[in-house]
């Protein structure tokens, strides 16, 4: 321990300038984040975060390269250093000089966001510190362990960025879309590969200082990136991320009736000059119960006509949410223009395979919103603010500013009902009749903290239109948007991720024999 502290003190002496600069940048960042309006004049607002991370990397590089692990001319290599002691000294130094100032800055930011500081926040803040160590310090230190100077480190980074840029030029759009579940799975797989690889690089360099194997490992990491991207869109990963639903799927789906019209419609847009057409089928999808929210992450459509014509889309990434209260939506997919034109002339039967995420909501609790500031849920707090909404023709109304400490729940549904509480519309609008509701759904994480240096996450609630819709008297084509007002009771439900599954649904016959121009609507047969 004595030697560890001895090396630590030496590094503090050596890097006091960089450490001081980092602390100064931290202070500037806290000030900027806590007082955004006072920085309006400052055009380069992004400069401070860039400086913050730049200084972070610089401190890491200089700390690791203080006892450079590359080459054979460093005096320390022939001194009786024990490599585990050296590693621990460096880790302590980085925790002390980077994580500790950031931790204190985060406490200030939470405090500035009026989030009560309590011990319950500590695990999340420590987790956030670990995330920063893992995602910033760890890779930077591994790269510093195989380079000799800051310049060489920078050149290696530029090389990696160029490589990534070159990868982005590859025709990835020829691949089927990778769905969220598959991407998450591949990201986890990537982490599972990269984390031990980086650990190996650091351990190897401290224990052996032979730079060729770790450099090869670095090259290997870079080579796995395109493989991981390929894997994300592969049927194999999709089938693991979204296994076939067992028994009845947690969703019933049917083509939506068009305002009682027995005919069904779909819309087609785009498709000009050879571009793909976007086909949108309005559907009604009801989860099994009111506690379930289903988020469609992607779909694959199969169309079969009476005359034997058949077309199947590749898997396409889409995001549509269905709940018991909000069962209507549309399933959209891209289709080559010539196929879309052909389809319009045929009686076509559609079936769709959906990949979706299922969330389960917990018990609701009502939130009194009469106070200036109130607790929405857990570590999420809201306060009323004055703001002009041009949507309301310049009439002053009130809105909500919410901040969540560390992270939002996996899913949070906030619902308000018309006619209740003291919510009133601007004077020139008719009062909202009772029997309507509006809901906002926010997504978060089940981890103790989101990867964001600022632990006070701003949440802007947006409730969308009233359900059932209320036509806007000024513009009948439009529906009234629901805005919360002080005093309106909110019903909040938080929930958890339940599973991801894949299921097929038969939508029935769709199609038209009317040859109509591309931008018009197509009429489908009902079954």
């Amino acid at each position: 321990m004595k030697i560890i502290l001895h090396i630590l003190v030496k590094d503090l002496r050596r890097q006091w300038i960089e450490i001081s600069l980092f602390v100064l940048v931290c202070i500037a960042w806290v000030w900027q984040t806590a007082h955004p309006s006072s920085w309006e004049w400052f055009r380069q607002r992004e400069l401070v975060p860039v400086l913050l991370f730049g200084m972070w990397f610089l401190v890491v590089i200089r700390a690791v390269q203080g006892e450079c692990l590359v080459g054979d001319r460093e005096f320390w290599m022939t001194r009786p250093y024990r490599w585990p002691q050296l590693m621990v000294a460096k880790a302590l130094f980085l925790a002390l000089c980077l994580n500790l100032p950031l931790f204190i800055a985060q406490l200030f930011l939470l405090s500035a966001a009026q989030i009560p500081l309590s011990w319950s926040l500590l695990p999340g803040l420590l987790f956030l510190g670990l995330e920063f160590a893992f995602f910033l310090t760890f890779p930077a230190a591994a790269l510093a362990a195989v380079t000799q100077s800051v310049v060489q480190w920078g050149l290696a980074l530029v090389g990696m960025l160029v490589y990534t840029l070159m990868l982005s030029w590859l025709p990835w759009n020829k691949l089927p879309d990778g769905l969220e579940g598959g991407q998450n799975l591949c990201a986890s797989l990537d982490m599972a590969l990269i984390a031990p690889a980086l650990a190996f690089i650091l351990l190897w360099q401290y224990a052996r200082r032979r730079v060729r194997p770790p450099r090869l490992v670095f090259a290997g990491i870079l080579l796995t990136i395109p493989l991981i991207i390929l894997l994300a869109s592969s049927p194999f990963i999709r089938s693991i991320a979204y296994p076939q639903a067992k028994g009845s799927p947690p969703l019933r789906i049917s083509i939506a009736e068009n305002n009682g019209d027995p005919t069904r419609t779909y819309t087609r847009s785009g498709g000009f000059d050879g571009a793909a057409s976007e086909i949108s089928i309005p559907v009604s999808a009801a989860p099994a119960d009111s506690d379930t929210i289903v988020n469609v992450d992607g779909l694959r459509v199969t169309l079969v006509a009476d005359n034997g014509w058949r077309w199947q889309s590749p898997w396409q990434s889409r995001s549509v949410r269905f709940s018991k209260n909000s069962p209507n939506g549309s399933l959209s997919f891209s289709m080559p223009e010539d196929q879309a034109i052909q389809m319009a002339k045929l009686h076509v039967k559609a079936s769709v395979e959906l990949a979706f995420t299922v969330y389960r909501l917990g018990a609701p609790h009502r939130v009194d919103t009469r106070a200036d500031r109130f607790q929405l849920s857990g570590n999420t707090y809201c306060s009323w603010h004055r703001q002009d909404f041009s949507f309301f023709n310049g009439v002053e109304t009130r809105g909500l500013d919410c901040e969540a400490a560390l992270h939002l729940p996996v899913i949070m549904q906030i619902q308000m009902e018309s006619g209740s509480g003291s919510c009133s519309q601007p004077p020139d609008q008719p009062p909202i009749p009772a029997g309507h509701y509006a809901a906002d759904i926010e997504y978060g994480t089940d981890l103790p903290a989101d990867f964001d240096p600022n632990p006070a996450h701003k949440v802007r609630l947006f409730f969308g239109s009233w359900i059932p819709p209320i036509p806007n008297p000024r513009d009948p084509k439009d529906n009234l948007t629901a805005w919360p007002c002080r005093g309106v009771p909110l019903e909040v439900r938080t929930g958890l991720f339940e599973n991801r599954v894949r299921a097929s649904f038969d939508l029935g016959f769709i199609g038209s024999e009317e040859p109509i121009s591309p931008e018009s609507k197509y009429i489908f047969d009902s079954e």
């Binding site: 004595k2 030697i3 001895h6 030496k10 002496r13 050596r14 450079c68 054979d72 001319r73 460093e74 005096f75 320390w76 290599m77 022939t78 001194r79 009786p80 250093y81 024990r82 490599w83 032979r210």
Partner: protein
């Protein structure tokens, strides 16, 4: 016990075979001078010994430890200084010595003070502001004050003025009694007065490795006079280096001198002849070996 032993040591840098099949043994208490022209492989060999680079093939035993890795605690008894070592330039001399101190349980504060005084080290000056000679003195001080069992010096005298050299040699002489010293140097005059053993490397091979006394006894400049002119150009025996001849006299460097045997060999080569032999300096041995790239001459292990 050997302080250093290498077994079939090889090091390749792609196409360059820097160290070839080196079997070096240095006994405890020896002061071993490693000589050789530039690019002979001396520094590579020393880096291999110090575990700064890995051998392509072969084994190294340091201070009786098995395996080729001298590291961590093992370095508490090894002092190493190289002419091109990177020191922590941002430190002052005093801070540098204070920083090194806790790593060595045998650090001798009084020796530190003596060396600082002898070398005239400015304790409050940063290493980056020191001259090359002063830097070398600081490095040497940090490598000697813990009284290492093995001192390895790679070109420690290179570029130093005579005063600094004297200071350094004086300090080494003091420590020679209790340590094994391996040093590579081009400064043959200094080495000759100081070393007990010598090794000569060329093109990665260790061509010679034995005690100074044996080298002095073995290497002689031999002159042969009043012999008959040589018919044609007969090849001299392989043990004769730098052979020169004119009508009735010849001279060469005999690599395995023995008065009777050498005289007999000369008579066999020239016929009736008078020969005389004179000792030569280490410098002359070095030059003779370097110019002829003589194949390995078996010598005794430096013990």
């Amino acid at each position: 016990m050997y302080a250093i032993q290498t077994i079939d040591l090889n090091k390749r840098f792609r196409r360059v075979h820097a160290v070839r099949d080196v079997n070096l043994t240095i006994g405890e208490g020896a002061v071993y001078a490693l000589m050789g022209p530039n690019g002979a492989g001396k520094t590579t060999l020393i880096k291999l010994l110090m575990n700064l680079i890995s051998p392509t093939k072969g084994r190294i035993l340091m201070l009786g430890a098995a395996g080729y890795r001298v590291e961590g605690k093992g370095l508490e008894t090894v002092g190493y200084v190289s002419e091109n070592q990177k020191l922590p330039d941002w430190m002052t001399v005093g801070r540098f010595l204070a920083y090194c101190r806790p790593f060595y349980p045998t650090w001798d504060r009084s020796l530190e003070q003596r060396l600082v005084k002898r070398f005239g080290l400015p304790l409050k000056r940063r290493l980056k502001h020191l001259s090359r000679g002063m830097k070398m003195k600081a490095a040497l001080t940090s490598a000697l004050v813990f009284r290492p069992r093995l001192i390895v010096l790679d070109e420690p005298l290179s570029g130093l003025d005579p005063l600094v050299r004297d200071d350094l040699m004086e300090s080494l002489r003091e420590l020679a009694a209790e340590a094994t010293i391996l040093l590579s140097s081009h400064d043959l005059a200094e080495i000759e007065s100081f070393c007990t053993h010598v090794g000569f490397m060329d093109e990665g091979r260790l061509l010679l490795s034995e005690s100074i006394a044996d080298v002095r006894a073995r290497f002689r400049r031999v002159s042969a006079t009043n012999h008959a002119p040589l018919a044609g150009s007969p090849a001299p025996p392989p043990a004769w280096l730098q052979f020169e001849t004119n009508a009735s006299s010849s001279r060469w460097i005999e690599t395995g001198y023995d008065a009777e045997r050498s005289a007999a060999q000369a008579r066999e080569f020239f016929g009736p002849v008078e020969i005389s032999a004179q000792p030569i300096t280490l410098r002359e041995v070095f030059l003779a070996l370097a110019r002829t790239n003589h194949p390995l001459i078996p010598g005794e292990a430096a013990q």
